[in-house]
């Protein structure tokens, strides 16, 4: 929904401005419970404000990438991330050392 600038200020007085909306939007993204009144206000703002909507969507994309598991990464980029053999050998050596040292 597109709204003209002047009209947006009026709407913001009724609901919330962009600074407040982004504050509540991130709380919800981070699984924090928010008061239903504030929830309605920020959701309404998201409905008419393209920039805040983008902020919300893009923050979700960033989260998805930060949280990505190896399976997600493979689906996203179609490539497998692997340890090189030298590093594997080094880790095996360290693990073996600890096993011997601790009599495991």
């Amino acid at each position: 929904m597109k709204i003209k600038k002047g009209m947006m200020s009026v709407m913001d007085q009724l609901f919330m401005n962009c600074e407040q909306t982004t504050y509540y939007a991130i709380k919800e993204l981070d699984q924090e419970k928010i008061n239903p009144k504030e929830r309605i206000k920020y959701k309404t703002h998201l409905f008419y404000c393209t920039h805040c909507k983008r902020f919300y969507q893009q923050s979700k994309t960033i989260d998805k990438i930060i949280k990505a598991t190896p399976e997600d990464l493979e689906n996203m980029s179609h490539k497998k991330i692997k340890l090189d053999n030298k590093t594997k050998e080094k880790i095996v050596k360290e693990v073996r050392k600890k096993i011997n040292h601790n009599n495991l």
Binding site: F55, S59, T61, D63, I81, L104
Partner: protein, 182 residues
């Protein structure tokens, strides 16, 4: 008796892929994988097949990642953040996005080059103060409970949300500038 070769062969690549893009470099990721195996070894007697071995190792790995950022937050690194919020601070449109800093449209997910995106993400995380970075990672990556984050970072709950708000605005804007703007 545990066979180290088989153990690392079975889980090494998976753990490395999990951590690689969550820390700044290959070397740090490799160290964290090694620490994870060593730490798992110390508590192997406590591991009873309640969850799968991999789930157990990933939980340890996640703690190691948080530890990495916790150590960074303890370093007395100079605070380089002088970030100004991207909203008008006075006048009729107070609280609106500043025109030249409002979110632009990004390309669809499918076109993201992950390697590039992660390199830029790490650069952008560096722009946060170490404490901000710890809070940001604990909240997003680990979904840690608020009390734990506040305790680790020595902040109040109100402060937690101010930090998250600022950090998310700052990281998003930085990513847009460095990864998306042509």
């Amino acid at each position: 008796m545990l066979n180290p070769e088989k153990w690392i062969e079975k889980h090494g690549d998976y753990l490395y892929a999990y951590v690689r893009y969550k820390v700044p470099s290959n070397e740090i990721a490799e160290d964290i994988v090694q620490e994870t195996f060593l730490s798992a070894l110390s508590s192997i007697k406590n591991f009873r097949d309640k969850s799968s071995e991999r789930t157990w190792l990933v939980a340890i790995l996640k703690r190691r990642i948080i530890d990495y950022y916790r150590k960074q937050a303890k370093n007395k690194e100079r605070n380089i953040t002088s970030y100004r919020l991207p909203f008008k601070q006075k006048g009729e449109n107070k609280g609106h996005w500043l025109e030249n800093r409002a979110p632009a449209s990004w390309e669809p997910d499918a076109e993201i080059n992950l390697d590039h995106f992660h390199q830029v993400l790490q650069l952008c995380l560096k722009m946060l103060s170490p404490k901000q970075r710890l809070v940001f990672i604990m909240k997003i990556l680990d979904e840690s409970p608020n009390e734990n984050i506040c305790k680790e970072a020595g902040i109040s709950i109100a402060n937690l949300w101010t930090i998250m708000h600022r950090s998310r605005l700052q990281v998003r804007e930085c990513l847009e500038k460095k990864a998306y703007k042509k």
